[in-house]
């Protein structure tokens, strides 16, 4: 079984940050990049399935050099090889990454694509299912269990609101988006991290590699402005030292419970 896992390096703003001069994004000096919270669950799931049934795990990212962070983490966990499609995608277009991933699916023809449910910075919750639409694979989002069925089907548990699970059967090849908590992602030890550096990491230029992916018909939503929650937050802020603050909390609780 060939499993492709798209992974993303997400941007985490510092506690205090400044905006760029046009006011349309956070100044990159105030951003750190790390693996998207959901992606290790997808990588772990792929590794377990390939360990059980044979095959390979390919991890793919669409992004600049900083996106290799997520690829290296996945290789250290045990993925076989990595591909980076070298292009920056607009953070406001949930279809942008999917279009480039579609090119990789066309070349690699995986039996299964496992995405994360969402990315913790953009939080579109859309890339995997958009990719499925572009390559016409059956798809199910927010999957919390996967069991192999014989004969090209999987039985998956789709996590619904309120914790109810809908068990479904899906035909391969397919795209699933994997929910946190589906497994216990393995930690990569130092040796694995070193070994990861020796694994194949292919950087492809989407313009020249034939991996330009699905032609984008849209240009994505147009960003007009961004603003901080602070301006709209409703909370009455309690200030002071820890003791003062705690005393005030005690009072508020006593009042509210009276």
């Amino acid at each position: 079984m060939r499993i492709m896992v798209p992974v993303k390096s997400v941007a985490v703003p510092d506690e205090e940050f400044e905006l760029t001069s046009d006011g349309l994004d956070i100044d990159p000096d105030f951003l750190d990049f790390t693996s998207n919270e959901w992606d290790p669950f997808a990588v772990e799931q792929a590794l377990q399935m390939v360990e059980a049934a044979g095959g390979e795990v390919i991890v793919v990212t669409v992004g600049g050099k900083e996106a290799e962070e997520a690829l290296m983490a996945a290789l250290a966990m045990g993925a076989d090889r990595a591909i980076r499609v070298d292009i920056a995608v607009a953070g406001f277009d949930p279809l942008a990454a999917a279009r480039h991933l579609a090119g990789v699916v066309a070349r690699e023809a995986p039996d299964l694509v496992l995405c994360g449910v969402q990315s913790s910075d953009a939080a579109h919750g859309a890339t995997g299912v958009a990719l499925a639409g572009l390559v016409d694979y059956p798809h199910i989002a927010v999957v919390k269990s996967i069991a192999s069925d014989p004969a090209g089907y999987l039985t998956v548990g789709r996590e619904l609101e309120g914790g109810v699970v809908q068990q479904m059967e899906i035909r391969l090849p397919a795209v699933l988006t994997v929910q946190s908590g589906i497994n216990d992602p393995r930690y990569a030890n130092l040796r694995a991290i070193k070994q990861a550096r020796g694994k194949p990491l292919e950087v492809v230029d989407p313009a020249s590699s034939g991996l330009e992916g699905a032609a984008g018909r849209g240009s994505g939503p147009r960003l007009r402005q961004i603003y901080e929650l602070k301006d709209r937050a409703s909370a009455e802020m309690i200030r002071g030292g820890p003791r003062e603050v705690a005393e005030r909390i005690n009072e508020i609780i006593a009042e509210a419970l009276r």
Binding site: G91, P138, L160, E161, G163, P221, E228
Partner: protein
């Protein structure tokens, strides 16, 4: 190209509340997005038509398919056919688990723009303008949606649900084209969530802790809850890591609670968490990040290290 097509969400014979919330959002956006047609897809949806008579609905479209329970494949095909026939100016879903399985693929296949988790929606001189969170809700972006018939998914709980309407909207049966072909996906069964001993939904006072407690043992907070007369609740990461059971989880995929006091320590306030607690009578949030979205719903906020504060908390009066 006119009006809005709202995709009604229903599960096991009930229309879900987010459907009525979408109608409120659209009424707030004014005449420019009218008229509103609401689409019900699935087996037996004709029986749900009365539930879809929500203020602001101009027409109810009924698409009977053979799929008794949601499956992305048949729903997607049916919706695509209706979009082609009706040519709406805007297509609206709830930002729900069902929509996450359908809306992005539809946008991809139809070549439409997509914006998810929308928290505000309006028409400005002919432009559809939405707001959505970015960077985990620490900032919000205002976006303009170009192109024909863009698709949005609207955040559940963001708008009040409109009540039932006295007026009766027209009903129209639409053809489930394509949905009848054999689906690569089928429903097997529903499994109910955690049925544990603890019931956090009846507690008056919840002490809710999140990933902000760091490496500290959850037992420390279970003890604290006991000391101050609260019931312990948690955000999802503490369940995912096995420290707490699902019965204590507040949020979209956990429990919906409405205690008199919700004391949130080290919880950022992701939309899926807010979905479960935003209606609590008194929300007090402690977080070291002044931009944490939890402060958007809290009544009282403290910017600071939770560890410095917990030792000073005292028992609540009976």
């Amino acid at each position: 190209m006119a009006g809005t097509l709202v995709i009604a969400e229903h599960r096991r014979g009930e229309l879900r509340q987010v459907t009525a919330e979408m109608l409120t959002a659209l009424r707030g956006a004014g005449e420019a997005l009218a008229p509103t047609k609401i689409l019900l897809v699935g087996a037996g949806v004709t029986a749900l038509a009365d539930q879809a008579d929500i203020p602001g609905v101009d027409e109810i479209l009924l698409c009977e398919t053979s799929a008794e329970h949601f499956d992305p494949w048949s729903v997607e095909n049916a919706i695509a056919a209706v979009i082609a026939a009706e040519q709406p100016r805007l297509i609206a879903f709830g930002h729900t688990v069902d929509a996450m399985s359908v809306a992005p693929a539809l946008a991809a296949k139809l070549g439409r723009e997509l914006t998810t988790d929308v928290t505000a929606l309006r028409d400005e001189d002919g432009a559809i303008v939405v707001e959505r969170p970015i960077y985990g809700g620490r900032l919000f972006a205002e976006l303009e949606l170009p192109g024909e018939g863009p698709i949005v998914t609207i955040r559940p709980g963001q708008f009040d649900a409109a009540g039932a309407s006295a007026a009766r909207a027209g009903r129209r049966v639409v053809d489930p084209q394509g949905a009848a072909e054999s689906s690569p996906i089928c429903h097997v069964e529903f499994l109910e969530g955690d049925t544990d001993q603890i019931d956090i939904t009846t507690a008056d006072f919840l002490l809710a802790v999140g990933r902000g407690i760091g490496d500290e043992d959850l037992d420390r907070y279970a003890d604290l809850a006991g000391e101050i007369g609260a019931t312990l609740a948690v955000s999802r990461p503490l369940v995912d890591s096995g420290q707490a059971t699902g019965a204590r989880q507040v949020g979209q995929s956990g429990k919906t609670v409405k205690p008199r006091v919700y004391l949130a320590l080290g919880i950022s306030g992701a939309p899926q968490h807010l979905a479960g607690m935003r209606d609590a009578d008194c929300i007090i949030a402690v977080n070291q990040d002044p931009d944490a979205p939890i402060f958007g719903v809290a009544h009282y906020g403290v910017v600071g290290d939770l560890h410095e504060i917990v030792d000073e908390l005292v028992p609540a009066p009976d």
